[in-house]
Each structure stands twice: as structure tokens, then as C-alpha cells.
Symmetry: C2
Subunit: 484 residues, 2 copies
């Protein structure tokens, strides 16, 4: 076989596609009508350059004309330059000199500016380590074993296989009291929170207390749903849950007890107890966002708050940090009485996740691959964090890493008044990091203000191995060398 006959791996072998082609034939002269319709489709861009046309035999059968009519029409358009025909590759739309320009609106949705060389903003795990081979193997086992009705619309709570696997895993690894009946699968924390916001509004809640540091995205979601978001101050023992009792009309509190986001502290045992006591006394709910609970490096992770009282905590987890955000699967473990309300809220948007993907994750967890992956990533991220701390000690001794040895990001305390300039200096060097101020939540209506605190939030997990050293060097280069 000569080299020209081989197909590259990226280019699937040409197939004899039974392609569907819609054409409007006008008038009575069949060949002219077909030629016109095809020419028009190419000219207006409806058929893109490179598109392979159906074999003449198929198109003839579809249109109810003779095969010869189609062959002649194709030949005429090849002669005119609209189409190309090549042995073994079929008839295709010819490449165009000027590509069809995208509409003006397209630019709006695209990110602007230069792409940074290194991205250390919080959010994603190391996407290069997604276990592609094992995921595909799990998909194969899951889809091979799935009953036909798994391919239908299904239970709005999610596939039972996934809920069963999650119940087992969450009990074992996170200390969550979970039965499959109380688990609802969603597409991630954001989706789960949107569902809970709907439920809280239906219950006529007016406000959801939030931690004074967190993501604007979630506060905006609650505000859009008509809920106020009074903040709880966050210190080295986590959110001040003892302040909950002072807030009015609060139906729930949104928290990250295992690892405050993004300041990185754990909620103290006394405050865990205080949160549960508040919920029991007032009938309020604790919304526990356990976004990275699996990743703790210095000791065993803090168990889920939900374990203290499953009747007043809604527990949220997802595959976004442990696997990849692209999997788009999350889960809620609900107090029993909330299940019908959440299911109803979910039904309104028909937002259900792919059942194939749900079955794949179920198999990935049940087979032990999920545990193995988390364990392997935990070792990698721990090494990354150790390297970062060691580099700081040597090259920026005035900068302290705050918070626990856990998760995918670390808070680096900066000298007062330097946060903005360090973030900007990093950007000039092609390094994207976030300032802590981006996560601060001030209650504008009450005049309550966060204390001044200059810091960076640095994701050491996201860079791939090939960019890690460069990212770390660049970071150390822009940090102040000593506290001023």
C-alpha cells in the first residue's frame, strides 16, 4: 500500500454515505430544475464547501428521477466549477475563494483579547489528565449492558444506576447519608442551585444567606430568582454561622463547609453545630456546596456537614473538579420531603442529562475507576501545592499561603494595597490569576463592608504538566519579594 492510499488517524476513511439532501425542484424540466436547485444551494452557502453530495443513485431514488438525470446535473455543475468530483471521494461542493463571512453578531459571543499563556484562575482541574481511555472503557461497558429503556426519557431524578453508585460513594467517601431515592442528578452545582432557588421561591423564602466570599455567579442567580443574599462574615474558622439568627427572612444558607471557597478554611466544629442548630430551630435549609471535598492533602478530608443532620441539609456535589466540567453531571442529596418539589422544578425546563453519560459515570464509579482517579489526582495536586509553597519560600518569602492544604487553589496573602497591581503585572506576563477582591460580597444595602485584604487566588491544579514550570516561574516573578 502506498503512502498516498493510507488515511491519517485524524481523517476518517471516506464512507459511502447515504446522505440526505433536501432540494426544492421547480418547474417541469427535471435536469434543469435539479441543476438550478443545487447551484442555488451552493451559491447561498446552504451547502458548505467540502460537503459531500449523496451518491447519484440515492439522490435519484429520493427525488424520484432517473439516475442519469442526477449524473448529468452533477457533471454540469462540475463543469461550471460549483462541484468537484474525484475518484473514490465522490462529488463534493468546490472550495470557495472567499469563505462565507460570519454574521456581525458572531463576534459578540466570542471572548476578546489575547489568550494568556498560563491560566491559574480558579475553576477547572487539570483537563489534560482526564482519564479518556478509562472513561471510554466505562462508556463501552455501560452502553453494552444498558436496557433499551435507558435510552428513553427516563426518571427526572436521573438514572437509578447512577443514583445507586453515588449513594454508595458519597456515604463511603464523604460521610453523606444518601439513599438513591433522595438523590437528584443535575448538570452541575449551578443547575442544582437554580433548582433550589425555584423551590425556595415557591416556598416563599425571601433571602438566602451566603458566605462573604464566593462566586458572583451564584449570588446573581439567587438575586435573579428574587432572593436577597445577606452575607455571613468569613474568618479563619469559616463563615460566622452564629450570626444566622440575627438575619431576617432567611430560608436557607449557602455554604462551603469542607473548604471555604475561595479562602480555603474549614468550618469549625462549633460553627457546624451552630448552622445545624439554626436550621433545626427555624426550619431553614443548609445548602452545602461540596465542590472539592475529595481533595485534602494534610489529613483526612472533613466529612460533609450533611452527615450531622440529613433532614436540614441539601448536599451538592459534581464531577466538575474530580473529573472535568465537560462531563456536566452533578448531584443533590435532598431531605426526603424536598424530593417532589425539586423534581417538579426540574421538569419545567426538561433539563435532563444524557442518560448515556449518566450510565457511563455510574459504571466509572462502580468499577472503582473514580476512586483511583481521585486518588491519583490528589497525589498530583498535593505535589503541585508543595512545589508552589517551596518556590514561594525561596523566591517570594514575604508571601504566605493561607488556608488548608486542600483543593485546587490557594490564597496568597499580599502586602496591603498591592492586589490590583500584582494581578495586572501577571496579566502583562501572560499569566491569568484572580484577586481575592473578585470574590468579596459586600451588602450594598446595609453598608456592611469586608475588611481590606489583599490576596491572590491561584489555581495550581489547572496548568498541564508541560506548562506548570513556566506558570510557577511567572507567578514567582510577579509576586512582591518581601512584605513592605
Amino acid at each position: 500500500m502506498s503512502a498516498s492510499q493510507t488515511n491519517s488517524a485524524a481523517d476518517p476513511p471516506p464512507t459511502s454515505i447515504g446522505a440526505d439532501l433536501h432540494l426544492e425542484l421547480r418547474g417541469t424540466k427535471l435536469r434543469t430544475g435539479l441543476t438550478d436547485a443545487l447551484r442555488n444551494a451552493v451559491r447561498t452557502g446552504r451547502l458548505a464547501p467540502g460537503t459531500r453530495l449523496p451518491p447519484s443513485r440515492s439522490l435519484a431514488a429520493d427525488l424520484g428521477v432517473s439516475r442519469n438525470t442526477v449524473v448529468e446535473a452533477y457533471a454540469e455543475l462540475v463543469a461550471e466549477g460549483w462541484l468537484t468530483a474525484r475518484q473514490g471521494s465522490g462529488t463534493r461542493v468546490a472550495p470557495r475563494a472567499e469563505p462565507h463571512s460570519p454574521p456581525a453578531g458572531a463576534a459578540r459571543a466570542r471572548p476578546v483579547g489575547t489568550r494568556p499563556r498560563y491560566v491559574m484562575q480558579p475553576g477547572a482541574p487539570d483537563l489534560a489528565r482526564f482519564p479518556r481511555g478509562q472513561w471510554l472503557a466505562a462508556a463501552r461497558r455501560a452502553l453494552t449492558a444498558a436496557p433499551n429503556d435507558a435510552l428513553g426519557y427516563g426518571d427526572p431524578r436521573g438514572r437509578i444506576e447512577l443514583r445507586t453508585a453515588l449513594a454508595d460513594y458519597l456515604a463511603r467517601a464523604r460521610g453523606v447519608y444518601a439513599e438513591p431515592e433522595r438523590i437528584v442528578v443535575c448538570s452541575g452545582f449551578h443547575h442544582g442551585l437554580a433548582l433550589m432557588a425555584q423551590v425556595l421561591r415557591m416556598r416563599e423564602a425571601r433571602a438566602v444567606a451566603v458566605e462573604a466570599y464566593g462566586l458572583d455567579l451564584y449570588r446573581d442567580l439567587l438575586t435573579t430568582a428574587g432572593l436577597r443574599t445577606p452575607p455571613l462574615y468569613v474568618d479563619e474558622r469559616g463563615a460566622r454561622t452564629d450570626d444566622l439568627a440575627r438575619l431576617r427572612e432567611v430560608g436557607a444558607v449557602l455554604m462551603t463547609p469542607a473548604h471555604q471557597y475561595p479562602t480555603g478554611v474549614a468550618l469549625s466544629p462549633e460553627r457546624r453545630t451552630a448552622a445545624v442548630a439554626w436550621a433545626r430551630d427555624t426550619g431553614g435549609l443548609i445548602l452545602e456546596d461540596d465542590y472539592d471535598g475529595e481533595f485534602r492533602y494534610d489529613r483526612q478530608p472533613v466529612g460533609a456537614l450533611q452527615g450531622l443532620d440529613p433532614q436540614c441539609v441539601v448536599y451538592f456535589g459534581s464531577a466538575s473538579k474530580s473529573l472535568a466540567p465537560g462531563v456536566r453531571l452533578g448531584w443533590m442529596v435532598l431531605p426526603e420531603e424536598l424530593v417532589p418539589e425539586v423534581v417538579e422544578a426540574k421538569g419545567y425546563g426538561d433539563y435532563m442529562s444524557s442518560t448515556l453519560e449518566q450510565l457511563t459515570l455510574a459504571e466509572f464509579i462502580s468499577s472503582g475507576a473514580y476512586d483511583r482517579h481521585v486518588r491519583s489526582m490528589r497525589q498530583r495536586y498535593r505535589r503541585r501545592r508543595d512545589q508552589l509553597v517551596a518556590a514561594l519560600a525561596e523566591r517570594a518569602p514575604g508571601v504566605r499561603a493561607a488556608g488548608m492544604a486542600a483543593g485546587l487553589q490557594v490564597v496568597l496573602e499580599l502586602p496591603a494595597g498591592t492586589e490590583d497591581s500584582v494581578v495586572q503585572a501577571a496579566a502583562r506576563e501572560g499569566l491569568a490569576v484572580s484577586g481575592l477582591r473578585d470574590f468579596g460580597h459586600e451588602a450594598r444595602d446595609s453598608g456592611w463592608r469586608l475588611p481590606e485584604r489583599d490576596a491572590l487566588v491561584v489555581n495550581y491544579a489547572a496548568p498541564s504538566d508541560s506548562t506548570w514550570k513556566g506558570a510557577l516561574d511567572t507567578l514567582c516573578g510577579v509576586l512582591p519579594q518581601a512584605l513592605s
Copy 2:
């Protein structure tokens, strides 16, 4: 190798899992603390029977205790009967005499009643024909070729690979003017309609006209979003779009032009023109639900209405009929100016579909597998419909199949006043079919009423090959033998 050593295909080989196990150790006596914590986890059901515990070495490292401490704790609990240990299978939670009973609420979410033997209600295609092998092959190619950032959060419009493949396919097969920039991926028609309902409300629309026959689910969605749903009468030429001008405050009209759902007629050319003229005159939108446009058996499918004027039509399609609902992928082709509004609406709920699944569908389409599958299913469904019509002619000559030779279901006209009794007779024989009345939409506020029309809506696509003959026999057995 002896038979007892082989693993069956369904049972993955036991693996040395690096399982994560969360335990709260209390007190100072490590072994007693660990034994108590494990016993408690088993007793309360947090660790389910059969759960494999982590290897002693791993758990010891996690807890920061000696391996011997763990080995002794495991041994004690085996002796007490809480755990079992078997060479090669590790330590597991022992089976329980009484399984943990599910909470009372669980039953609520389950379907009640006996499952019918044959399901011919409209909705699903033949799930047994889902091309599992080809889908997995596409998943493998797609995931192997995907860049790392495809595993991140991504563009709210959906992956560019899928939007590009869809643009090409829809132009070719459905006559849609589509550029990838104007396509937004969603999880199905219901999700897309929910997004449009949000956008219409933001634009202060008060009403969406609907066809007088359709799904309650969609009308309810619009009503819940605060939109009235005045009906358009449906006859043998489709919805009476010339009535649109008479309706007040209508911001959009929801239609199934290629194949009215479920009556099965096509919108006539004059009415297509009238709909577009109304939209141009009033600035209203046409919401075109092209749910089964690929399936036409007697001639080439009617092209999408969107092709007449892409600036006033929102085109909706999905993989639910062509592949399977479980894929949970749909698409909207939008007028350019609507893209930012739909993207904003979508962002609120973080409703994004798995990027892995999007890449798989993109590859499935680009490789030609989608066309081949649709073509093959079209032949199957055409045969099914022919067999149904032939069986009617022979065994129930008084019952007429209405509508076009297209789609997955057919309307069977019944003698006046017999619809309910035929549906009930079918149910008694284990056959689930729907009466046409279930789809009728009467405008209660205006007193407008649908004319009496007794008919069944029968899905001939859904039964698998193994149940088809039984389903058809049962259907013929319950139909009236002649028009009374």
C-alpha cells in the same frame, strides 16, 4: 484456566481499588475509635452491604495510623459479623438480613399501575435500534481527537464542532439556512422552548399562538412562563395561519409545519406563506418544531419553513426521534439578533449539555453515520406503516389512516363516540395507545371548541421487532370492524 477463575463479561474483574472512605475517629484509642466508626457506618447503612473497603495499607495512610491498627480493626469486625474477608476479594461489608428500607417518599416518584405489554403511545422511536456500536465508535474517535479545553465549561451556544456539523446537515437535509454562529445547542425541544419562553417574556410578549392539536406539556410550559396560548384551528391543510392576524398581543406562533403533531398533515404552501407574511408584518416569530422532519415515506420531505425567511423563524430540532431521547441533545437555529438573548437565558440555569456527548454527536454526523442511521430507520418505519395500513384494510376496514405517510405515528379515525372505549379496550389487552382528544387544545377563556373527532394516535415506530407483531394484532383486535 479453570472456569471458576474466569470472569463473566457482565462482571468486571475485581480490582485493587484505591477506594476513598471517610471516617470520623473520636477519642484517643485509635483501634477502638476506628472499630467503632466502621461499625457505626455499617449499622446505620452508610456503608451498604457488599461495599468493598479500602485495602488496609491505603486506609492506614489516609488516616495516619499504622497498617496494623487497620488490620486489627478489620479482623475484629469480621469476627463480629459486620464485615467479610475473602482471599482475592478483599474486605467487604457483610450482607444484611434485613435490607435498609427505602423512605416512604420514594414510592411517590415511581410510576404506578401495571406496565403494559405493548406501548404505542407517541413519543419514542424504536430504542432497540439505537446504533450502540457506531455511537461508541464515534465517541472513541471524538474523545481521542478532542483538545483538552473541550473538557472545560465551554461556549454556552455549545461546542463549535457540533454546531458546524449541524449547520452542514440541516442545510443539506432540511433546507435550513444555518450558520454555526446562529445555532444554540440545548437538551431537547422542551428545553429550547423554555429558553424561548424566557426570551419572549423579556421582550414583553403576552401570548404565543399554538396549533389546536399538540402536547399539553408545551402549552403548560408557556402558560407557566406567563404567556397565553390562543389556538389556531387545524384542518387537512395544517394550522390556519391566516387567522393569526386576528389574534391580539401574539409575539410568536408555535408550529409543526412539516408534519403537524399529532394529526399528521403538512402545512399548505399558501399557509406557509401566510405565516411568514404575518411574522414580517408584525415582527412576530415563528417557532418551528421540526420534530420528525427526516421521516417521510411517500416523497421527499417538506423542507423547513425556516428556509423561507431565516430572520423570522426559530427552527428547533433534536436527536430524540432520529436517535434516542436519552441522548438529550437538541438544537435551535436562531435569527441573528436573538442569539445574545437566548445565550443569556441559557446561562441563568447553567443548562449545558455534556461536551463529550456533543463531540460524539458531531463526529456521528460528520462521519455520515447519522445519515445512514436515519435512512435505515426510514426504511424500517416505512415498512411498519405499510404493514399497519395493510392490516387495517384486512382486519378493520372501517378505520382510516389519516395524514401523510411520514413520521413515527399515525392517526386512525374512529366512529363517532368510540375513542374512549377503544383506548380502554386496548388498555385491557395490555396495549397503551392515546386518544386524539388528549392532544386537543380548547381555549377555555374564549369558549372556542374543537369539533368532535374520534381518533387514535398510534406510534408504530416504538415497538421492538420482537413485540411488533403482537402489538399490531392487539391493535387490530380492539378496533371497530366497520364504521357504524
